[in-house]
């Protein structure tokens, strides 16, 4: 019998623990498929964050680390400096990367560290139960912004892709979303380019993936996808911010 579809070798057989409707699973899958398609699974080393993605080390079928909250880019730096020929990536949420770990991500980019970061922006702290993140939208409710985020009190949401794109060492920066099949295809394409940037040794690469958290947003999975489209994409425009040689 002809096999027309099979699960990627890039994922283990462990069952995801993610909530129904959460898009972490989709993002895991397209990252894993990309590693397999680029034939680098055997030399891939990944770094899981603290956040809902913490157990990613059980899901990706390659050597893995679990890092302290926000420090994945520093851990990846240590790995890449020892094994420059391996493919090193971090997988981080927006509390991890855009709050506690801003120094580490900025300086990994600033050094032009030849690693790839998958940055999952769901505008909220999922794992700890829905607190405000630096990426929480204006007016969006969170357990620590019970009346909705107010600019006067908490400032404007942080646009990480745009910020990192100002750094010379960040060779590839793109923002994608995983709310529709078409966008998922585009996201996978960007993830492939990001890893290719690393393989060619062109510098730091990051893909910001707009993601959902229906549980903490208090929406059904379908409503959450719609909310992403209607609220997140207008504030966090999709597109490429940096490509090597451009």
């Amino acid at each position: 019998m002809e096999t027309i579809f099979r699960k990627t070798e890039g994922l283990t057989d462990a069952l995801f623990h993610y909530c129904p409707g959460c898009t972490h699973g989709i993002i895991h899958r397209i990252v894993a498929e990309t590693l397999e398609e680029l034939d680098v699974l055997g030399k891939a080393i990944g770094v899981a964050p603290v956040g809902c993605g913490v157990l990613a080390y059980e899901y990706f079928n390659c050597d893995m680390y679990q890092a302290a909250h926000g420090r994945a880019p520093a851990v990846a730096t240590g790995i890449k400096r020892v094994h420059p020929d391996n493919i090193v990536f971090t997988y981080q949420g927006d509390g991890d990367l855009a709050s506690i770990g801003t120094a580490e991500i900025v300086h990994a980019a600033h050094r032009g560290e030849k690693i790839t970061t998958i940055f999952v922006n769901n505008t909220i702290y999922g794992m700890t139960g829905g607190q405000m993140a630096p990426t929480t939208l204006i007016g969006q409710k969170a357990t620590t912004a019970p009346y909705g985020r107010e600019v006067a009190h908490a400032g404007y949401p942080l646009r990480i892709a745009e910020m990192l794109a100002t750094i010379q060492g960040a060779a590839f920066v793109e923002r994608v979303a995983v709310n529709t099949p078409a966008n998922i295809r585009k996201a996978k394409n960007a993830i492939r380019k990001a890893f290719e940037t690393q393989i060619k040794g062109e510098g730091f690469s990051i893909v910001e993936v707009l993601s959902t958290c229906s549980t903490n947003w208090g929406l059904t999975p379908i409503e959450a996808l719609k909310w992403l489209e209607e609220n997140m994409i207008p504030y966090y425009p999709l597109g490429n911010f940096r490509t090597p040689g451009r």
């Binding site: 283990t12 699974l41 055997g42 030399k43 891939a44 080393i45 770094v47 913490v54 157990l55 080390y57 059980e58 990706f60 079928n61 390659c62 050597d63 893995m64 680390y65 679990q66 890092a67 302290a68 420090r71 520093a74 851990v75 990846a76 730096t77 240590g78 790995i79 890449k80 400096r81 020892v82 094994h83 391996n86 493919i87 120094a103 580490e104 900025v106 300086h107 600033h110 050094r111």
Partner: protein
């Protein structure tokens, strides 16, 4: 090999490279800057790599990545910087990774000062990191001993898969002494088959991790770590006993302070007052068993520290009520003078006789 005159920090850095260290991650802070500076010059010549991290937090996490990758790796800092590394040290201990951490300590609390201090005894031996973990702590008193212990520290770290701390004060880092790089005893080390270098499709993934969500599993992990720490207590304790025969008082001191005490001992012996020195070389595991060797002539113990009194807690635990324990210390970067220690010894003897 002939002896060469070196500055403490440079001797420590050179010893690390001789001990197999090929990766160094650090952030500048006085009085240890010559260590990263030396590494920046020398590591690339031996095929290694130096990275100036954006902070001590980043540096210790780079160490975590490099140690998990199977490399011999070191970081160094001074007191406030070591405080920032504590979360990372806890992760490294939890994930059972080997590395060497040098603390050339200075006065605190807060920004404190930049002069030598032993105010990091608690930080070095108790850690500031969370959870049930221990780090082996060496406290060299001379540059020769620093060199020997740094080289050995890499063997010991690999042997136990645990961080090893070198506790030196600013004096050790900044002074110059002749040193010789000798061969150090090699341990039988298993291959690092747990390290990450890519599966190459030939083995199951290696995972570097300290997370155990199931409390029963975490407890099991912690008791297994405890067994390892117990083996360190059994096998790694080091100390020096000096001039204890017929002594009336034992001074307990480590590192730079122990050298001042040796002066005190020779001055007092000319006056016919016999004082001994118990010098812990490992601050953890603490040389409790050394206290069992203290002769019957001893009337009291005196802790001399460059702090307001930190090691004295361990001395009291080890003494277990067998002798009164006195204290003399200077803090904030001040070094005890022989005269002041002599005065303290005489005062104790007046009370004891």
């Amino acid at each position: 090999m002939a002896k060469i005159l070196m500055k403490g920090n440079e001797a420590i850095a050179a010893a690390a490279i001789k001990g197999g260290c090929r990766y160094f991650f650090g952030y500048p802070i006085t009085p240890q800057n010559e260590i990263p500076e030396y590494m920046a010059r020398e590591l690339q010549k031996v095929g290694g790599c130096f990275v100036q991290a954006e902070s001590e937090l980043a540096a210790i996490n780079m160490v975590y990545g490099a140690a998990g990758s199977g490399a011999r790796v070191m970081t160094s800092s001074s007191s406030p910087g070591i405080a920032l590394k504590q979360e990372g040290i806890s992760y490294i201990a939890g994930a059972e990774l080997p590395c060497v951490i040098v603390n050339i300590s200075r006065g605190g609390p807060g920004l404190g000062g930049i002069q030598p201090s032993q105010g990091d005894y608690f930080q070095n031996t108790r850690g500031g990191g969370h959870g049930d973990y221990r780090t082996l702590v060496y406290a060299p008193a001379t540059l020769q001993e620093s060199v020997d212990l740094v080289m050995e520290a890499f063997e010991v770290a690999d042997y136990y898969r645990n961080p090893v701390i070198i506790s030196g004060d600013g004096m050790i880092g900044q002074m110059m002494e002749p040193v010789e790089f000798k061969e150090i005893p090699k341990r039988e080390l298993p291959p690092k088959d747990w390290a990450t270098d890519g599966t190459k499709g030939k083995r199951k993934p290696n995972i570097i991790n300290s997370l155990y969500l199931d409390p029963e599993q975490l407890e099991k992990h912690n008791w297994r770590l405890k067994e390892k720490y117990d083996r360190m207590v059994q096998n790694e304790v080091r100390y020096e006993m000096y001039n204890l025969e017929q002594a009336e008082i034992v001074i307990v001191a480590y590192g730079t302070t122990s050298r001042v005490v040796k002066n005190v001992i020779s001055i007092l012996s000319k006056e016919g007052i016999r004082v001994g020195l118990l010098r812990p070389i490992t601050l953890w595991p603490y040389p409790e068993k050394a206290f069992d060797e203290i002769p019957e002539t001893i009337k009291a113990l005196l802790s001399v520290e460059m702090s307001t009194g930190q090691m004295i807690d361990d001395i009291k635990i080890a003494a277990n009520g067998r002798w009164p324990v006195y204290f003399y210390g200077r803090s904030g970067g001040m070094v005890p003078t022989p005269d002041a220690i002599i005065e303290k010894v005489k005062e104790i003897l007046r009370g004891q006789r």
